[in-house]
Amino acid sequence: MSDHLDDRLAAKPVSRTRETLQTLMANKLAVAGLIALTILVFVGIFGETIAPYGINEIDIPNRLTGPSGTHWFGTDDLGRDVFSRVIVAARVSLQVGFIAVGFALVVGVPIGLVAGYYRGGIDSFLMRMMDVLFSFPAILLAIAILAVLGPGVGNAMIAIGLVYTPIFARITRGSVLVVSEEVYVRAARSIGAGNRRIIARHILPNVMAPIIVQTTLSLAFAILSEAALSFLGLGVQPPNPAWGRMLAEGRNFFQQAPWMGIFPGLAILVTVMAFNFVGDGLRDALDPKQKSVIESRGQSV
């Protein structure tokens, strides 16, 4: 065994990050997801420039026209170009996703770290609070929070963020419970490292893998939640376009103009699937147990 490892020493240092990326790149679905996400982010940033029409360019004579060369995704009940609206709406969806999940990360991960590392009373207190949040169905809790804060994009971000906080707290705590028992944590203590240093330098880097995976998967669900809230009229307010809203508006014209609902729906589908593919790929790349399953599956084929 030592011979084998000595051979590897002759090669360039292989960091875990690089190994992870290599595994990720070998996963076709994850690569497809990454490509889709890159396009989405590009569209999100430059949507207004790319869009062939203004999002609120009303053209009543051409209302409810089907997809054509001039209007790729057709027009809605006010003659607005569905393609332009779908493209511009990408930004707000991604924004809500990233900011809401960012909020959940920033609040949830420290809660999980503190609860898992110090245990005892503080652990019970923090995790019972998280359990209370977690016990509500996600979308109902978001609706309840928005009922208090009032509808709007900003409040939707907070609401979705709060809904996802306990997930991050739980995942982090679970991993911290395992990692804080590791010998290298005891070794760090033996050289005099304090709790804060141990948490930041030893615990956090070693619990990142599941958190990264959960972040990617949560982005998908946060975007879905935003769509649901906008569908219910609690998120993005008219006349600004949002996929969820467009879906809701399209519902009334589904018989005459199915494209009004189909294209925003497809946009949601593609985005959510892209995040999920990347998340699944990351999980396979970061979790050695999963990795072995996939490798053995590959060998048996």
């Binding site: 030592s2 490892l5 020493l9 010998v183 005099g192 304090g194 030893h202």
Partner: protein
């Protein structure tokens, strides 16, 4: 013996056992370490041997206060560790270190070995600048026989022996006086054990280190230790210098342990009488009344099942056995 660097007095580590169910009641204790006392002189190596689960690792951890002892005291170079504030204790950690048994578990997989070795320097502010830190890390890696060029590599790229060398470099970073070596070679391939042992020996000579060397293997400590303490079920049963311990073991348990060590000469090995112990080690939750060894001792007699023998001097050894207790009448010579 010179002024001891470390002295341990009546150290106790009990792990509470709780009842299962909604209300957790404290029902009992696992007496992992039950009244252990010993001293380690400056520059000496004290071997601590005993079978798995006898509390030797726990003793090492409690000595460094990596777990909280239940009772007793540890005096390190005149400082009673129980009386120190946590800041003082962290400062004292500069002077003591630990080398762990499993070199695969004791290095943070997310840190390069350069960072691992540099961490003690950072924690104690021992390097003023980045250059000084890098220089010192290179020096430490060289000291343990690793190329400083490896500093950016990660633990998973090394073999067990090399990882253990990284662990030793980390332990040496603060120039400690005292190192607890917790079975540092037990997890290594036999072919590389000798290399690590020699390294530890050389370092002791060069740096004047004091070791508490924990092992379950008597032959491993035989050549390495000045004195050897034998532990059984949370207690020290015998302490003696290595020569007389090997030549004239007093305690029946030590005798049994020694008879289990194979002799390299097949003629001797074939002819010698092995002393095979009956039964299992009793549970440390519920140790037997009297001497802990009495259920397995071939020479058990009346006081053994009633009174705890204390560690007393007998012909150059400290033995905890009624056979050698002058206050006890020896019944059958």
């Amino acid at each position: 013996m010179a002024e001891p660097l470390v002295s341990v007095r009546d150290l106790q580590v009990y792990f509470p056992v709780h009842s299962t169910g909604a209300i957790r009641r404290h029902v009992n204790d696992v007496k992992a370490v039950d009244g252990v006392s010993f001293e380690v002189a400056r520059g000496e190596t004290l071997g601590l041997v005993g079978e798995s689960g006898c509390g030797k690792t726990t003793t090492g951890l409690a000595l460094l206060r990596l777990i909280e002892p239940t009772g007793g005291e540890v005096v390190f170079d005149g400082d009673v560790m129980e009386n120190l504030t946590s800041a003082q204790l962290r400062n004292l950690r500069k002077r003591m270190a630990m080398i762990f048994q499993d070199p695969y578990a004791s290095l943070d997989p997310r840190m390069s070995i350069g960072k691992i070795v540099a961490e003690p320097l950072e924690v104690h502010g021992l390097a003023d600048s980045r250059t000084e830190k890098n220089h010192r890390v290179g020096e430490l890696l060289e000291m343990v026989g690793l190329s400083p060029d490896y500093r950016n590599r990660y633990p998973h790229e090394f073999s067990g022996g090399q990882r253990q060398r990284v662990g030793i470099a980390r332990a040496l970073a603060t120039e400690p006086d005292f190192i607890v070596c917790d079975e540092p070679i037990a997890a290594l391939d036999v072919s590389i054990q000798a290399g690590v042992m020699n390294l530890l020996e050389d370092l002791q000579r060069e740096l004047g280190l004091t070791y508490l060397f924990i092992a379950h293997d008597l032959s491993a400590v035989q050549h390495f230790s000045d004195r050897i303490a034998v532990m059984y079920l949370g207690r020290i049963v015998e302490v003696a210098d290595r020569v007389s311990l090997y030549e004239q073991p007093k305690h029946p348990y030590t005798q049994a342990l020694l008879s289990a060590v194979p002799v390299p000469d097949p003629a001797v090995e074939r002819s010698r009488q092995r002393m095979v112990l009956e039964g299992d080690v009793p549970s440390p939750i519920d140790p037997p009344l009297g001497c802990n060894f009495n259920p397995r001792c071939p020479q058990v007699f009346e006081p053994c099942t009633e009174f705890d023998p204390s560690l007393t001097a007998a012909a150059g050894h400290d033995v905890a056995c009624h056979l050698y207790d002058p206050s006890e009448p020896v019944l059958d010579g």
